[in-house]
Structures are given as structure tokens and as C-alpha cells.
Subunit: 389 residues, 2 copies
Amino acid sequence: MNCGVTTFGFEIISTDPQTHARRGRMRTAHGDVDTPAFMPVGSRAAIKGCLPELVRRTGTQMILSNTYHLLLRPGVEVVAAVGGLHRFMGWDGPILTDSGGFQVYSLGDLVRLDDKGVWFRSHIDGQPVELTPERVIEVQRVLGSDIGMVLDHVVPLPAEIAQLAEATRRTIAWAKRSVEATAPGQIVFGIIQGGLDKQLREQCLRELTAMDFPGYALGGLSVGETPEEMYQVVEAFGPRMPPEKPRYLMGVGRPQDILRAIAAGIDLFDCVIPTRNGRNATAFTWAGKLRLRNAKYRCDPRPIEEGCFCPACADGRFSRAYLRHLFLVGELLGPVLVSLHNVYYYQKLMAECRRAIDRGVFREFAQDAIARLERQIQEQPETGGPSQG
Amino acid sequence: MNCGVTTFGFEIISTDPQTHARRGRMRTAHGDVDTPAFMPVGSRAAIKGCLPELVRRTGTQMILSNTYHLLLRPGVEVVAAVGGLHRFMGWDGPILTDSGGFQVYSLGDLVRLDDKGVWFRSHIDGQPVELTPERVIEVQRVLGSDIGMVLDHVVPLPAEIAQLAEATRRTIAWAKRSVEATAPGQIVFGIIQGGLDKQLREQCLRELTAMDFPGYALGGLSVGETPEEMYQVVEAFGPRMPPEKPRYLMGVGRPQDILRAIAAGIDLFDCVIPTRNGRNATAFTWAGKLRLRNAKYRCDPRPIEEGCFCPACADGRFSRAYLRHLFLVGELLGPVLVSLHNVYYYQKLMAECRRAIDRGVFREFAQDAIARLERQIQEQPETGGPSQG
């Protein structure tokens, strides 16, 4: 738990001359994070099926967990009794906790929401749960995450302007209350809402910037808009978020989305795509996705990707034929191995992005990589778009 | 695959002065195995959910896989295409493959069985499958397991004497055909059947001993008899199996069963109990079993067992509270961690047995351990008995 002494910091090490991309380092109480950084998602205090030491070997420095999920199960008092979230889940690196705003959005009509906060019934036991901006800050303090997030009001897109305006006004008011509820030394990021409306985004950015959060997120994206619409918001507002603070794009996304967002100056990402795809037998490679249930891999002795050093591919240990077998018979090891491979793929992408920024060639790097990824989509239809959680 | 050169051997390093227990070392093409040894079960070419490197860290030297399962899925030609079973599953240590006799027994009335062999329809796709003694030997040669097993005729207990006699006669005839089908350098163990009938067991032991297999198993136990009945067979026939060859008790069992069998001169064991219990949130400890879903562990910060060095307990990394949480929310990591702990517990038990034999105090060690285990059963009812598979 934070005890009043701030160990948080952020420095920019290099900037790309032709884009807004920045290469930085974020300092937290549990270690440094090289940015741009990708956080795999362990909503319920576990990256599904993967021991923390294996997650570490994917190159992951920081992970995301979720206030909403942990509040319902096991309950914050359980995590506290064991000594906080790091101890609880056996992850000694940095942890960011999402606030629960996105999960509240996912619940839809089951939620009652007003200026005071959010009320809903637990889907586990039907017990009423109350989330207020203050309660969310307090819970994250008890969890002991290195970075917490404010409670925000997320609106599914497309949305009426009046609804967006109301949600933005509420997000700003909640942000202010969150600042007041934050303990000395506790690190909480603000979240900029406003849907696809530039004026509302502008207003939210301006008001939250004045509150001087130690970092800022773009939220309310990947909630029904097209990738192009998402890019417009990211490209308009990424470069205008406070430059000396970390910038976090929540719940995004596909590799091409991340590349474009880095070019717009974003530093931090989380997404369930690598692990969810891994559980569904879809593996990322530089040559495109492999659907490992496909009959063509039946006798394929190659690893998912030649030359990959992830726990599944290193030394050519596990063949496509073996992984296909594991999925067809329903063996747990299949989802574990392909999740680890996919997270490794994402982390390798991030490492290459950082190197390209250092070398001042990020624009060319990103253009080439996006062109290759888009070509792959032409050749192999996607199984799913970006998703948050 | 074996290529005509036998690298198999077995030496006895020490014997216990007061029991039939022996401490030995089995040499295989993929490394040595200290006996008495326990093999965790990976029927479908995976120890459920566990990377081979983690299985290795439990102290496991040798694992068991299953001809029957692999024949149905992915098919022996797939394993062969990838370079054999070791390469396929990423396990570079010794592997023993069971023959499929026990699985045929499990299928019950779905099987047609005569002197030629066994016919059944695949439960996967309804295709007819034929297992003959010769085919089973050939399949294991192609899989490349370090030790294969003959096809035997397993009878559920209790059984009529006429049925047991018929099955024993058939097992002997099949064993003879198996010897003829075995390639130079291929290692295949014989299986002694006969149910609870001492004369039939005696006859089977005598006839198979004459065939000079490189190792022998007691089969047809843990198929419906009481522990006491099983002990009677093991204690009568363990000491009379060829002393210079490894002796294997198939599919047994609970820690107390293993202790009693070691005292009867058994060297090799396999059982699904540690992994199956692990998947059901039951953890073995020296103080008794923990049912990790129990509410009393809700805030328990202790590891499963203090001082245990398994991947789940080492450094007190994962608390009972965390494991309980994983099981309650259905996170895959729970079954993985408790399976690893339980296999580690079994391997530690085996290591302590070997040490007690070396020191000549196995009788006292086993008596104490069995008394403690039986007392635990009095205090905490069992969830299940020994099971094979």
C-alpha cells in the first residue's frame, strides 16, 4: 500500500521527429516501466492460466487488474488481509487498476447512476453494490495498486449529444471528487471522456488538466465506434494531453490500433485481445494470425513462429500440431501456451516501437507494420475487433 | 524412436533390511529414474494445464501417457510426423506409455473382445478401432516411449472365477504375441493379471516371468476391490516378481497405498490422484488434505504448506486465500497451481521413501507415515479412492 511517499515519476527519453511518438520510462513503487508499454489484463487477479513468472518472461513489466471484479470477488477485505494485490496475485511488478467505470457501462440497464455514484446488484449474489468516486479511490488504495483510475461515466457509441454532454459533465465532477479523495502518495490517473464529440473531449481535457493528475487516460473508446472514428479522437487528443505526464489509451487494441496511437503520443495500453485470442486458438505472428484448430496444422512440426523466444516457441518446443491437438481435446495447456505467445508478440511489438522511436524512424516503422497488418486482414478475415475488460 | 540399441537398465542401489523395499535406478534412453518413482499422468500428451518445465520442477523424472488416448487423438501418425511423443509434448525425460488395456476395461459393453484383440468405436467420431497385441506394440514403437506396456485383459472386480481365468489365459497369450512383436531395442513390460485369485496371479506371474520381459507390472487393481484386498495381492506378489527387474503397480494410488506397495518391493507408480485432486481444489499436505474452497481459507495468508518448495508454495507466493479465490471465480490458474503442489507432494514423499530405504529405516518411516495418513482420514473423510487413467 502507498504510505504517503510518492515514488511515481515519468521521464521522456526520446521523441520521434516525424510523429508524436515518445519513448519514456515510468517509475512506480514496484519498478520501472518502459513506454510505450502494453499491459496484459488480469481482471480477477490472474492472467488466465499463466503463472506470474511466465507472464514476466513475455517481457511484461506491468499488468492491469480490475477494481470492479475484485470488489465483487474476493472482496477488497480479502486482498487486504493477504497484504495487498501484489502479494495476493504473486506479481511483484507494477499494477494498474481500472476503476470499474467500463464494467458499469457493460452492465447496461442493470445499473442506476446519478451524480452521487453508481448502484447495481452483484451478478454473483444479488447483493447491492455502490460505487462512488470516493469509494473507488479508497478501494484502489487498499488494493495497493501502483496506479489507480478515477471512476468515469462511459457511454456506448453511437450516442446522443445530450447524453454525452451529461456523462462528460459527470465525469468531470467525479474527477474533482476523486482528487479530493486521493491520499497523499496515492497515484490516480484522470480519464478524458466525451465520445466522438470534439468539443466535449476538449472541455473534459481542459478541466481535468487543471486538476493536475499525475497521468491521463483517453476513455470511452472501443465502445461501438469504427476504428477510423477512434483514430480521429486519438489523433486529435493524444498530442494535446499534458506532454510531461503518461498518456494511457484504455482498452485498445489491435496491433495496428496501438501503432497509430503511439504515433499520436500515447504511452500506455491494455487490451484482452492477446489473451482472449490465445484462449480461442488464434495466434499472432508477423506473417498474420494462425487459427490453430485449422486442419492444415495437423502434422505441422513448426512452432507458432520460427525464431520466437516465448515460452511456447522457444527452442521450437511446441509444434503447431501439438497446440492444435491440445485445443481439439480441450487440454488447458493450449490456451495457456497461446496466451503466453500472444502476449510475447505484443511485448515484442512494443519493444520494436520503442527502438524505432529511439532511432527516430517510428513513422516508417509504423507505416510498414500497419500496411503489413492491413494486408493480412485482407487475406484473413478478422475474428474480432478491439475489446476492453 | 528406438533404433535397435537398448539403453535400458535397472540397478538396485540399496534394500531395506526389514521390508522388501528397494532403492534403485532405472536407465532409459531419455535419462535415469530414481526408484521408487511416481509418474504423473498425461494421458493426452499433457499434464493438465502444466508446462513441462513446471512439471520438472516438482521433482518428476518420468511421466505416463496413454496409447489408447493418443491413438484416437491426435492419431499416432501426427505424433510421428512431429518426431515422436517426447518432441510432441515437449518432455525430454523418460515416458512410459500404458497400452490401452485399462481404457478398454473402462468402455465396458461398448467393446468386442476375443482372442485376436479388441474392437470398439471411437467415442470421438464413431470410427471403428482395432487394438491387437501386435498393433499396441507397434504404436508404442512409433510414439517412441521409453517403456511400453503389453495389451492386457482387465476385468472389473468383483468377478466370477471363470471370467478371471479366461482373461488371465488371454493376457498370457497376448503377452507372448507382444514379445514376438517387440522390435530389437524396444522396451515393453509384461502385466500380471488374475484379479484377487492367487492361483491365477501365480500362473500369470510364472508364465510371464518365463518370457523374460525387461520389467513387470501388477495390473487389474484399483478396479473395484477394497484397499485391503489390493494390499493382499500386492504383498503376496510384489516380493515374488523378478527381483532384478523394475516392478510397477499400475494406477495406484493414495500415499498410504504407495507406502505399503513400496514395502512389498514395488518400484514404479502412476496415478491421477494428485492432478485430479488438484483440479478439484483439494491439496495434499503433511498435516492432511486442504479443501481450498472452504470458507475458512477466505482470508488465510499462508501458502498451502509452509516450507514447501513447489511452484505454488515457494517463497510463500500464493496464499490459500488467493487459491480459494481462483477456484471460486473459475480461474484456470487454480487447478494448475494445486496440481503442481500435489505432484510435488507425491515426489517429496517418494524422495523421503528413497532416503528411508538408503538409511535402512523404511519400515519405521512407512509405519509412521501410514498411521498419520490413516488418522487424517478418520478426521477428514476422503473425497475419493484410488483411480486409474
